[in-house]
Symmetry: D2
Subunit: 342 residues, 4 copies
């Protein structure tokens, strides 16, 4: 099979990571690349690491130039995907790395994004219960947010098994690439190196309703999520420290067995041996998840911690994984499993 | 006043930071410096940044060489302070940067440290209710742990005012200097740069009972603390993200006013203007605390976040601040208020 | 003595560092602060680390608001200092952190800066031969560039003693704060963390003629300088690796003795013991220089390496040091000697 | 073809990177892994990123366990390769990542390594003139040092074309992984983050004679190399800033054309478009080289700058590239071309 793929938004971090992975994908032929302000420039000037594609010229993002591909990845600002998708045929597989089609709850969408809800597409987190079935043969995929990927994978086994009370507390540290490539003073290297700082505190981060959606679905009841994101002095990676009160009778053994059973067949998720804890470096550049869980018996809380690369499993890797499933390819085709460490 | 000061454990990070601050203290004359494996070496070979003291030679840590000083700082491994202290006279001010005399609960000490409890000294976190009175004129001071400093300052106003339920969840990120100077594989630069990782998960970190002690004292009832420390890719700094359920009727306004009132007179603590959040870089090398608080109304939790430098306000700066109080000097004598940023 | 000081350009990195140092200077009272785009804002929103000055409001940079001070620091973009200086009286001490008045060679100025030469002021690198005499009582000071500070201190002893051929090769690594606070894509944390990259290669960096000026003056003959700056993944610091062919007959012993003699009386420069090499962390935030020199006998080159903090000794610290000399204060008044390490 | 490969020294950084690449190599089956102190441990405890190999148990490094493979990679401390190699048959392809067989000059070996010279094997830097011919069908390969890889690729085109005087000055910045995984105080994260420092100054670094060998061979005359390595605050990457006086008559155009011609057919080396400069992040984890060259006409020097990943193209990637050539596989089989950036 040769799949012809276009990437809209090739100049940003998400688009660049999609291209890094597609360039090594054995079934993919990279077609049109588009940009907005960067249209007309060579990719090499914008993404110097993508040197086999350095001489590609970016075109403006229009339905015309995106037409004629089997798959189109959208790495566009929020709110722009619907218009592009409408003009591409139903037979084209569209994989949206943006937020537009992630939420099922229109009211939550409008509260957090301040614009009308565009709809809901099959959700590209294959590890969630039922997700693979919805992705097989799909022609529209909503790629999850990076934080919801890390948090949902850490906590869904506990919620699906009824082990946790429906109030989760999440503190996650992200590398700065999650904040994008548009230059802003607080994202300067001088500001972020040697510094940790929170942002979007108090329940206002837009990824919050997505976590609520995923964990509530797993639990079969509404789960409240207190989410605090922090910016860490690294380019890539998310470490999500998640906890919830254990339901009565939960033991460390039962907790461990629940996670082992839930994750045993997952090709990209590694539940670490007991006593070892995830590190983001171990999954840098890989479509991999490291995960560990513990019961703090003194306070009666389940602590689940996951590490992912926000750009790989958290965005572009998850997107390619979903593409593979949608197209009927082996799920791991072309996806790196091993992080670039140290 | 000229105070003659000795520092035991001058080759490590805590001892080095004590010396950095003492060298700029207008009332201090630096006397004997001691080390263990490093005895006999010049300080310049061990602490190249302390160049005005480069030619000082470290002596072995014995009561004899520490005698004859007005103040002795101990920056020793856990369990060694008691023996040294016993042999110094009661008139000597001993400031212990180690853990030995921090806890009042002997059972908690034994559970977390695995050795007999040595006793309890006045606690060197002057901002806590009643602490300054206990420190004035004291001749023994137990300097708090770095994490308990950050966490206690973030949450005590809420607990002292009865605003929070007695179960706190804390996730804190620390720079690597908190782990000390003894070389271990997981602390290599190659391992920590570009990586976030947790450790001591599940209630086992030794600073946990100290947080419980401080917050319980503020609340007037036992407070449970779920504490997860993480290692961040920076040399210095702690960002402590702390939360607890708000008691019924707590509003954002009342929360803010409570913190403003509690902290208004504190010389080293800055409650940031609303909407701005702490960053560890802003307090690097300073005896300063940045703090912010918010109410997440959707989940009913108080979120309080503090940033300190683990070596300065978290160790050596707090130690010098306590020395100033004990000696009757102005509390801010010789202490930097401004972080080295960017 | 109480010296009333204004700072023009208080919102940038140089202005912020000037304020950090002045706030701890015992003879200084901080007066007016100005900004351009930031006029009208509180300093706390722009420089969160300067919290004792957080409520100061920035005024626009005009001669009127700068009048009435004993000293005015200018931390303005190139080309703006002359106009401001003209309107302040001759009795005001003006310390220009910009480039406008550094070069004596008008042709070099015009070639590198593309604008008419504004003139030449006494040069604020006190360690250079003759510099202190010119600074004493001066009412105008041109603060050197950060790279020329590091390079000139590393090489002037060799050139002043006639030990080196007049062709120097310099490769220097700088922290990103040297590139300023204006947000640009290549200065994003995501781009600079984990990466080293050169810029201004091939003799085009504007600091080149300043190095040529200083080394030629020391040598008494024209010295050519091949200068390559690189951007390092750190916020602060310059490591300058400088070399030149040794003149015939130069031995390692003579080289060492020459440096020892040249630098013995310098309060802020530390020639390290033989076999030890500088590190930028050791001088972070300090007005200090670490320096080492060696003779590579196999290739006949002198290697001199210096470490400074680009914002402290490389800009604001050197500026305050020059102010102290100009005003007749002890040269080290209010200046930190010890770096914030680790 | 399925090639059965053993890796001796699988617990270190070089061995880990060899395994990361081999795990993605379509023609390789990974056989025995060995360690020294780590023998008996599972790989997952030592190299958490290599999770598809996590359950492999390391064996001690003996000829018996290494026998029966088509290829054996040696990632051992200096001086140990010869003994292992002797006991493996001549038909086994041995790829030595250590230094033992790199130098042709026995006297240089003995001067820099202080032990008897073990011999010389075909040199695994395929881009050098004549190197591919020597590697085809070879059964012994000496993988170059990381610095010599970066420096030789930057300068050999100039020397091979007779454009440069035979005295090169090299200042290179390396990530800390180049210093290995054995814990030492100066390699702690607390020490290296935020700091640049030189080491091995003055012509004493062991990679110096290897650079001399490569550049002299290209030039057809002895080339002297002044080499200063520096440690940069990043885990991976080498930026080599190399310069030499241009021979009379060399122009920028001729220099550019020389490099374009020399490198046009190289699959892993990218000479950047004029005006753009390498960055180590762009080649992180890739078997790629970014390179740029310029003529500083004011001082008459050629400046050539290269960026590589010290562990990939600088060690393990170059090793696999050489294996591919030796075995007659396409040279780029299994090798990543795109760096993990940002």
């Amino acid at each position: 099979m040769t799949v012809r793929v276009a990437v809209a938004g090739a100049s940003g971090y998400a688009g660049g990571e999609v291209l890094r992975l597609l360039a090594a994908h054995p079934e993919v032929e990279i077609g049109t690349l588009t940009g907005h302000a960067s249209a007309g420039q060579r990719l090499g000037a914008l993404q110097p690491h993508l040197f086999p594609l350095a001489d590609r010229v970016l075109e403006p993002t229009t339905p015309e130039v995106l037409a004629g591909h089997d798959v189109v990845f959208l790495a566009l600002p929020h709110g722009q995907s619907a218009a592009v998708a409408e003009q591409l045929g139903d037979e084209v597989l569209i994989i949206d790395c943006g937020a537009d089609f992630r939420l099922r709850d229109a009211a939550a969408w409008e509260a957090f994004y301040g614009s009308p809800h565009a709809g809901t597409w099959p959700y590209g987190l294959p590890e969630l219960p039922g997700a693979r079935a919805a992705l097989r043969g799909a022609r529209r995929v909503a790629v999850p947010g990076c934080y919801p990927t890390a948090v949902s994978l850490a906590l869904y086994p506990a919620y699906a098994a009824g082990l946790a009370e429906p109030e989760a507390v999440v503190v996650a540290a992200s590398g700065t690439s999650g904040a994008g490539k548009a230059p802003k003073p607080h994202l300067l290297g001088s500001e972020v190196m040697g510094s940790m700082s929170p942002y979007g505190v108090g329940g206002v981060h837009r990824h919050t309703p997505e976590m609520v959606q995923n964990l509530s679905a797993a639990a079969g009841e509404p789960v409240a999520v207190s989410f605090t994101p922090t910016l860490a002095p690294m380019a890539r990676g998310i470490l999500a420290t998640c906890s919830a009160k254990a339901r009565p009778g939960v033991t460390a053994t039962r907790l461990r067995e629940t996670y082992e059973k839930a994750l045993a067949a997952e090709p990209f998720v590694r539940l670490l041996p007991e006593g070892r804890w995830p590190a983001t470096a171990a999954v840098q550049g890989a479509n991999a998840v490291q995960l560990q869980v513990a019961l703090d018996e003194a306070v009666g809380r389940i602590i689940a911690i996951s590490a992912i690369d926000n750009l790989t499993k958290g965005t572009a890797g998850g997107a390619v994984q979903s593409m593979n499933i949608a197209l009927g390819l082996p799920e791991d085709t072309g996806l790196p499993m091993i992080g670039v460490a140290p």
